[in-house]
Subunit: 366 residues, 4 copies
């Protein structure tokens, strides 16, 4: 049923609210015997952490992960892995207005209508803090993938922020770690900084688009027709807070293409089929082909802004609301490590699902 | 685990290959006591049927659905409903080259690599014929929704075909059923016909974008954080053959917006909250708000075209291939009733899921 | 969610009512490339078939299974396998009283209370005819197991019928196929025949106990703590119509044992651990040890008897009822091939589940 | 997939090892708005706690549960509830021999064969300590049931310990809380004490049988045919450590009954159907009838005894082993609150599952 569980074989269930005592992920189905410790997972959390640059919220959380189960003497045991992150920066404050009012564009009103009760502190369950737990779970997936598919690489990066678009001509994966935007173009960084500073000074926020590139993914992952690899990647990305669109390969642009332009022709390479283009984004019929997998998604601008907005409260009174506090001018930035984590979990999950059904055997060509 | 099952409470499992004796859907979790017969389901299948216009394949199938179980004296019994459609137009022919070669842009090579065996006749399991079974399952969902949410309306329509875009200024839902494109703009139909005729004469195909509008959906549907309503809608649409991108509300365009422009402000209406805009597409935090739900997706052009393309075969030989036979110049057209069916199933599923957890009670405002 | 689905990786969903047009099983998650045809599955159905002896109902059904999907050129393709059995012996008759009355001991009243509607013809969904679909699905599992675990053997047999108990001293597996009771003791057959004839003449029915022995099961199957092998075997057997108790190894008798008597001591054999006894029934901590797996269950006497019983009808009137028609004096007999089928499905499912998580690698000893 | 998850709508995933830093349960699918605090859950844990009598292990754990998420201002929010119990009594000691040797009758060898690695400290994941997490989850279920089905009562008690059987003539539910055996017969307590003292002095252990009685369960719970209420109860009980058999109503004794003796005749009572007996144990066709539900199971004697037993170690050496440390002479005693917790979870889960499908509507009689 899985309200809060993601995955089929390698699964994780996230729990916790923004301002509760802790949050975390219960990881189940992890293969045994894989080297894993807190330091390995911490490196992924550190990339996502708020406060790591002036463009992300100044909430100062160490976000220290603890492994409470499922790892023994430095290796996974095949039993559930509990990952817990304590919330240490729960500033005591008056939530008066937020407790009763519904921020426009926020999940406040939807949670209220559904559950009749919500933890309003910091957004509660709908806060982006939930994604810290996903990133921790993704760290476990990355550890297993390192073992099972040594050549696999998953890289996320921004391709758009408001009016600014990545210039693909300057694409350089090596630059991703060198700037606060996970931007694969060093030369564009100053312009992006200026742009986002202006947004922030205007007490506004801005949307973004993020791309995830999966290199070295084996062919044969994905289980038609309702557990397709692209279906699960789409669900994974759409489940991230504020995501409004997901694309594989050409994505929405495929609507404008002709069949002659779109189909990726095939030749024989040294190690099997070689595709002459990658409009498909590495997936055909829901199954990976061995090409690079390309996923892209859009993140809406955060609705927590300092500009007053019209809304209502629980009593049905019409009010104007300013969302005070610490907010990212572009939440899309922090979506990058989250998306990498989700991608890692999807790929691992399908790797395990595939070896369940086929035993990992592949059809041969030639 | 659900390789071929969709849904959480109201589920359907599709089975069957394009040229096998039959295909169908096993529907489980259907509420009891709902009026249902073959005629009701047939109307949905008839809208999807190939051969219904010159712009869809000329395969002449009556696509007659039979209900084999789960319905007694005209009402559902709460037990599994088996829907079977016999394949009557399986032309006996020589599949020689297709049996061994991999059509570029097709699932052929992916199925071969994964399973080592594939039913190559007419695309086998990867054929769009599988979607007939979904449409039948969607008919069951529509029957239940008619009972449980009388005011609900689900309408799909094309918004783009290649270079042509729907002019929203002329938007008229009433026109959808009056033209072969499910186009909500009567005036544009001749231009769309000319465009597609030209594509067909060029022995080519073209992509499309389809939108689904859900009106009258109750608030509170969607179960954060991994069973969000938008997540499930995205998965539903991405699982349709040839879909490469999915959008909710603003979709990918959200990446270019600012927070002030994007958040939908709220006032009080006569029957509860009234939103002043709908950038969110009716879903906040993964939960329906009561606004119209807007989902959009792109369908790539079919790769089965009469223009020769470079590819390889099972022996690893490099060849050129023409896909003979009956093919839609724009498969996006037939995606419209399929998308409506998937939307109906997702909404019903979440309605049942929600009443499981909350009993259908709603938080009050005012 | 799986109202009518059994299994985790290798799953089957049964559908159909006793007197509907057909019933069957939708098998999903089957490994590709396995030799399979209708004849193979038919052999299992023939063992279960009513009318195969004077001790089972005289309903004359050929119970011919058809494979509608998922098999191509004699091999499984990895896509769903639809198995359909048409109901040919649906005698047209007046169901008047049964339609309104609740047979005591039957599911009639429970289905009515739950669903408000039921297909009363022949018991509808609650009829033992549903088990024909399981046996067909079990045939698929047996085909896969023949490939993956050549040495595996699954044998079911009766160990009790009313007052008669199998004498373990005469236990001979080879005799199972030689008598209408699946009894592993040729000498006892005449006494069992006499006993059951007397029951039948008294217009009564009688309970039974069945044991399933799984030889050659690899160690390591079973996923603690809620997908234990014994948990799933218990669920499998308890789901069979009329089953009221399930035992593994010592079963209920374990309550009377001491720790010194119960624990199976271990020595080293030529091919690994060798257990000096098998009180555990081949499963420790929910995981197979490589020993014989022993499952036993009790089947209550059918409540469809010719002796009048007190009950009520839908109007709430108190009546007396005789269940006319064709009924087995001991339904436990036909439970034997059903239980074998369920055991095959559970073992295969756990084999696939295990290779998902561990890749099928085993810890070593020595 | 659910390796470590139990349930369909109301689910819990237990995590943690006997001697790790903590263990717990991640509860998902809980209805919102239910009053819940740590004190409520603690009362259930206190009944299960080791050290509560001289007949359970002397491990001194306070077993304090903490609610880390999903509860806000004293009420459930509909989001995941994380229940954590820290392990405070992890005595530092030398596990030398146990780390390498396989205790006969224990899960040690099975875990080793499956995973190749195991946390051997105190039994690791296979320890009965895991059941503390179930009891905590059961406390949440009990809170919800108190709201939704006020009249429901779940009572567990011992009915057998070794050679001693409960005398049903003296059955008195009110006595369960007054003795260390959860024995509904005050007069038998001294004899049971003497018996168990003798077992303990003999450095042995003994098996037991436990019964759970569910009174006031509404009719209509259970979803045929693979989510039957009895099937899920059987799985729930069989998943408890050391359980080897499960019975519903007559259980294994049904094998000896005739149809005339077994079927429960029905009359009309003031509030609906009234059954004249309860051989079925309150469940027909997998669905509750409104009668008392009766479940019984056998627990084998613990294999951790001070008497030397023959076994092997990882090197394949044949050795003799004594399991030192703190062990219950009859683990069946502590199975009582665990079984109550599992029963509460199953009933609540089916209550939610039923209202998903039927909306909780019931068929009428009269």
């Amino acid at each position: 049923m899985s309200f809060n569980t993601f995955g089929r074989v390698f699964t994780f269930t996230t729990w916790g609210e923004s301002h509760g005592p802790a949050l975390g992920a219960t990881v189940d189905g992890c293969p045994p015997g894989v080297a894993l410790d807190e330091g390995w997972i911490q490196q992924f959390l550190d990339r996502r952490r708020p406060g790591s640059s002036k463009f992300t919220t100044q909430r100062q959380e160490p976000d220290r992960v603890r492994i409470l189960s499922g790892v023994f003497e430095g290796r996974t045991t095949g039993t559930p892995i509990q990952l817990m992150i304590e919330n240490t920066d729960q500033r005591s404050k008056d939530y008066g207005e937020i407790a009763q009012a519904f921020r426009p564009g926020h999940a406040d009103i939807a949670y209220h209508l559904k559950y009749g009760i919500r933890d309003y502190r910091g957004g509660g369950r709908s806060s982006a803090r939930e994604t810290a737990a996903r990133v921790a779970a993704g760290g476990v997936a990355q550890a297993v993938l390192r073992d099972l598919v040594p050549g696999l690489k998953i890289a996320g990066y921004m391709v758009q922020m408001g009016d600014l678009h990545l210039d693909r001509a300057n694409f350089d994966l090596a630059e991703i770690g060198n700037n606060p935007f996970f931007l694969p173009d060093a030369g564009a960084v100053p312009a992006w900084e200026d742009y986002l500073n202006a947004i922030r000074k205007a007490q506004d926020s801005v949307g973004a688009a993020v791309e995830v590139l999966i290199q070295g993914c084996p062919p044969g992952l994905g289980a038609p027709v309702y557990a397709k690899l692209d279906t699960d990647l789409a669900a994974a990305m759409m489940s991230i807070n504020a995501v409004k669109g997901v694309e594989i390969g050409e994505g929405m642009a495929a609507a404008a293409l002709t069949g002659t332009a779109n189909a990726d022709e095939i030749r024989m390479g040294n190690e099997g089929p070689r595709f002459l283009s990658n409009h498909a984004g590495g997936i055909l019929g829901g199954i990976s082909t061995g090409q690079d997998i390309v996923v892209r998604f859009a993140v809406k601008p955060t609705s927590s802004i300092l500009t007053p907005r019209r809304t209502i409260n629980r009593k049905g009174e019409e009010i104007e609301l300013i969302t005070k506090g610490r907010h990212d001018p572009c939440v899309g930035i922090r979506a990058v490590p989250i998306a990498e984590a989700m991608a890692a979990c999807v790929v691992l999950d399908h790797l395990l699902l595939d070896r369940a059904q086929t035993g990992g055997r592949r059809g041969t060509i030639g």
